[in-house]
């Protein structure tokens, strides 16, 4: 159970990677069926033609019934996200409308499973979608919404998936050594940061940026951070004209900050 799950009682925001689309769909169906059991309205976003997926789902009575009662829907990637660079505000506005409608119809909330592979193959769309991954992470922290994002390993570089997976509170093993996601008062950082992912971390800081001033990073579950990533935090703080307050109990963090004179990083107890 993740901290986000503990806080809200919902599964939160997860990233899955797959080699076989059928396996992703099977996991998504289990995730959405659990949502139906919990009283959620559910959506499945597929790159396949919708009628093809509907036909498959109709062979499962519980899903057929849910599709019929509009407790479940299957939509295409284009329907959900459009076919250009994602417009963040409009996307989140539409989610707010969907959630409000679900609640008005008596559902407990909304959960969505989306295969987002085709949205991130083009670098420009990927950049927008990575930023969206953080914005929707922040959005769903305070709303009755859960989401799973799926990425196809056979069509995307490991590095591309890593850059997206790290922006989720949880991701499949092997996708990212760390996560940087939305928290109550800033960001939450967990996992391990070293030379293997320092560039991904720098990119994640950019994707999760939220203005200027001090930035609180809660890192109680951070298991390792090397000097390179602390330098990235220092530079990020400089760019925001503030300090990064890193809450961690890792003893080397404060020692490395002092050794390297990283004056923009304050290390405090995880608490």
């Amino acid at each position: 159970m993740t901290s986000a799950e503990r806080a809200s009682g919902r599964p939160g925001h997860a990233c899955w990677s797959y080699d076989d689309p059928a396996i992703f769909e099977a996991r998504a169906r289990a995730f959405l069926l659990a949502g139906l059991t919990a009283g959620d309205r559910v959506s499945y976003v597929s790159p396949e033609p919708v009628p093809v997926v509907v036909e498959r789902w109709n062979s499962t009575p519980r899903l057929r019934e849910a599709l019929h009662s509009r407790a479940a829907e299957i939509v295409s990637v284009e329907q959900m996200y459009g076919d250009g660079v994602l417009a963040h505000d409009a996307q989140l506005d539409s989610y707010a409308t969907t959630i409000a409608a679900a609640l008005a119809d008596g559902y407990a909330g909304w959960r969505i499973a989306a295969d987002a592979t085709c949205l991130v193959r083009d670098p420009q769309r990927r950049e927008a979608f990575a930023r969206y991954e953080h914005l929707v992470d922040r959005f769903m922290r305070t709303r009755p919404m859960s989401a799973v994002c799926g990425y196809d390993r056979s069509r995307l570089d490991e590095r591309v998936i890593e850059e997206l997976a790290c922006l989720h509170p949880t991701s499949d093993p092997g996708t990212s050594l760390f996560h940087l996601h939305a928290g109550d008062d800033g960001l939450v950082l967990d996992g391990e940061l070293d030379t293997s992912n320092q560039d991904v971390f720098a990119t994640a800081l950019r994707h999760t940026d939220s203005g200027s001033g001090d930035l609180v990073v809660r890192a109680a579950d951070l298991r390792f951070i090397d000097y390179r990533s602390l330098v990235h935090l220092h530079r990020h703080a400089e760019s925001r004209h503030g300090d990064v307050v890193l809450h961690t109990d890792l003893a080397p963090a404060s020692r490395l900050v002092a050794l390297l004179g990283l004056t923009r990083v304050r290390v405090e107890a995880a608490g």
Binding site: T195, S196, L250, L256
Partner: protein, 320 residues
Amino acid sequence: MRTGAAAGHPGYYHEALLYDSDDELLAVVLPFLRDGVAAGEPSMVSLGERNTALVRSALPAGSGVTFLDGGGVYARPTAAIRSYRRLLADHAAAGAAQIRIVGELPPVAFGRSWDWWARYESAINHAYDEFPLWSMCPYDTRTTPPEILADVARTHPRTATADGRHLPNEAYTEPETYLREPRPVPPDPLQRGAALVELGDPTPAQARAAVHAVATAHLTADEVEDLSVAVSEAVTNALRHGLPPVRFRLWAGGGRVVVTVSDAGKGPSDPYAGLLPAPGATPGGLGLWITHQSCDHVAMQRGPDGFTLRLTTGDPNLAG
């Protein structure tokens, strides 16, 4: 204007002080300190407990000599350089024409970790050379092993004598040469047994996981975290700057953990690697500098099969 033997000398005037009695030590140290105070030069003492008491009792109250709190300045060579450079920079910025220091290494330095203190004694000829420093390093010839005294002669340009002379050491070797020589590194007794963990071409994360899995039973939590930092940097350097294959081995026992990280390359080309930070200038230099401050001993070994970095956390002089 600098006074005394170092008058007119630019930069660091580094002397050994070989003594075999308290009287001989005091015969050199007392005038060195008194003359410094008289000339208005910051004059400092950083000796072990016994010799501090000896010098303190031989000086009058209010002598003007500063006794530096040991404070573990000689716990690790790299940290000692960092700490002394800060001290020297502060005095230089305050306008000191010369700074005098008499400082001795603790007995622990003369055990299995001597190689990195020998590197320290050599490297500081360069690391302190931007300051008007005159320092004396006392060595007790009754207790210091002869092989260490040989290194002392090669790392100190001069020796101060009780009769007031400052003799050039013929064996003195410039640090750029000395530091590139292979250093004899006595094997840790733990290395006679089979390694508890052996990994081929590990990722830094796999190496850290091995440290956490084994070291936790032998070290404090903070020591485990610091060793993880050192191991992570060592493996990163081997993978990035060395040649394959990279091998990671770990031994534990007797209150310490020993890790070796080896590769088939030649090791760092910078003679000061590990002792001075080299951000940007030397590949892997900053990581090695951090490694040297995250363990209780770091030994660098070059051989026909490649380069090995040995990291020890816990007392490197304990048996077993």
